[in-house]
């Protein structure tokens, strides 16, 4: 089990990072994450959970697909 896989009653679920921005001038930034069994549900969860703004763009990415060069404290 990798660091971003979690157990749910319906089986295994993975973590997706949620990115969004309010205006075209803004950079896309991390607003949170969701844990879902597949990308379709992850999209639904992201839309329902992070609805605090009228985002002009929202995107999700599997956390495992993020390639980290270094973490805080490692630079």
């Amino acid at each position: 089990m990798s660091g971003s896989t979690y157990k749910r009653v319906s089986g295994e679920a993975v973590e997706y990072e949620v990115f969004a921005r309010k205006a075209r001038i803004d950079p896309l930034h991390l607003v949170g994450s969701v844990v879902a069994p597949d990308a379709d549900l992850a999209m639904a969860y992201a839309r329902a959970t992070y609805d605090e703004e009228r985002w002009c763009e929202m995107a999700i990415v599997r956390k495992d697909d993020v390639i980290r060069l270094w973490a805080p404290g490692e630079a």
Partner: protein, 314 residues
């Protein structure tokens, strides 16, 4: 794992902690405890508000109530997901714990039965949440939680506005509606004052303050709450048992009743003639109030039904 001297230095420098590899076991334990209180409080507000939201006076008002409940569930999700990243089992935390072990303020155990009580809860309880979480948002040393609270603060502000707008409208309408508002305020005000916990002179030491999991003491948070709620209630013509005094050139909010004192949960009545001790209050909190088991069952039962059905299918 950092040495405890390295860790202390990091906390003192104001730097954010970003992962378990940067924590001491004591910090991790205190962080988890603080997150459980926050997650449980957000989660239980959903069934607590739902009972009253069903009594909304219009479809629009009902939609607002439901939107608030949906926000609270998302806030709970943020806290529980951080706990999950810290190694806790989220489903166990929410669905398999004993109702009495949930760590939310006692106030939510007293049923909110009318729309009026719901809007006072938005005005008082969400204000308490706003003070507590605003302080954490401002001071918290754990990066993921500090960032997660951006969304929470925006939305708590909206809940508070719903509470205040409705309280003002009900008060202005006068008559029986205003009497009902005053009755709700009479029992909900002291419950919210109690929300912030033991007074500073009873609480010897705060690990949460030491680890910068919060920045203000219980009494400082209580004063902050009083400084927003009391003037607002006075402004809209609602009586509250507290007043402002000036001491050493500073505004201090004083309660007009013995704190703590006896509370009859069944009749939603405070007995200002009968002061109690903090041991009595702690015993009442630990025993939990009227709706505890029912509210926890609302989400736990459905989960176990789902699990049963799911296991039969597969």
């Amino acid at each position: 794992m950092p040495s405890s001297a390295e860790f202390d230095q990091m906390i003192k420098s104001g730097e954010l902690i970003e992962s378990t590899s940067e924590m001491t076991p004591e910090y991790l334990r205190e962080l988890k405890h603080t997150l459980v209180v926050s997650g449980d409080t957000e989660l239980i507000s959903a069934p607590a508000y739902y009972l009253a939201a069903k009594r909304a006076p219009s479809i629009n008002a009902f939609m607002t109530g439901i939107a608030i409940i949906q926000d609270e569930l998302a806030h709970a999700h943020i806290a529980y997901h951080i706990l999950e990243e810290l190694g806790e089992d989220q489903e166990n935390l929410i669905f398999s714990r004993d109702p009495k072990s949930f760590r939310y303020p006692y106030a939510f155990d007293v049923p909110l039965e009318t729309w009026t009580e719901l809007v006072v809860a938005n005005g008082f309880y969400d204000q308490a949440g706003f003070c507590l979480l605003g302080d954490i948002h401002d001071k918290c040393s754990y990066g993921p939680w500090k960032r997660g609270l951006n969304k929470v603060m925006l939305e708590e502000n909206f809940h508070l506005r719903n509470g205040r707008t409705w309280m003002k409208r009900i008060s202005a309408s006068g008559g029986a509606a205003k009497d009902e508002l005053q009755r709700a305020v009479d029992w909900m005000f002291p419950l919210s004052v109690e929300w912030f916990g033991l007074p500073d002179d009873k609480k010897m030491h705060s690990t949460q303050l030491e680890y910068r999991l919060k920045g203000l003491t219980n009494d400082q948070l209580r004063q902050w709450w009083l400084s927003t709620v009391v003037p607002y209630c006075e402004q809209i013509g609602v009586k509250v048992p507290a007043h402002k005094e000036t001491r050493d050139g500073k505004d201090v909010w004083e309660l007009d009743y013995p704190f703590p004192c006896e509370f009859d949960a069944e009749h939603k009545r405070w007995d200002f003639e009968h002061p109690s001790t903090w041991d009595d209050v702690l015993a009442r909190w630990r025993a939990r109030g009227p709706r505890n088991a029912e509210m926890v069952a609302m989400f736990q039962e459905e989960f176990h039904n789902f699990r049963k059905a799911h296991h039969q299918e597969s």
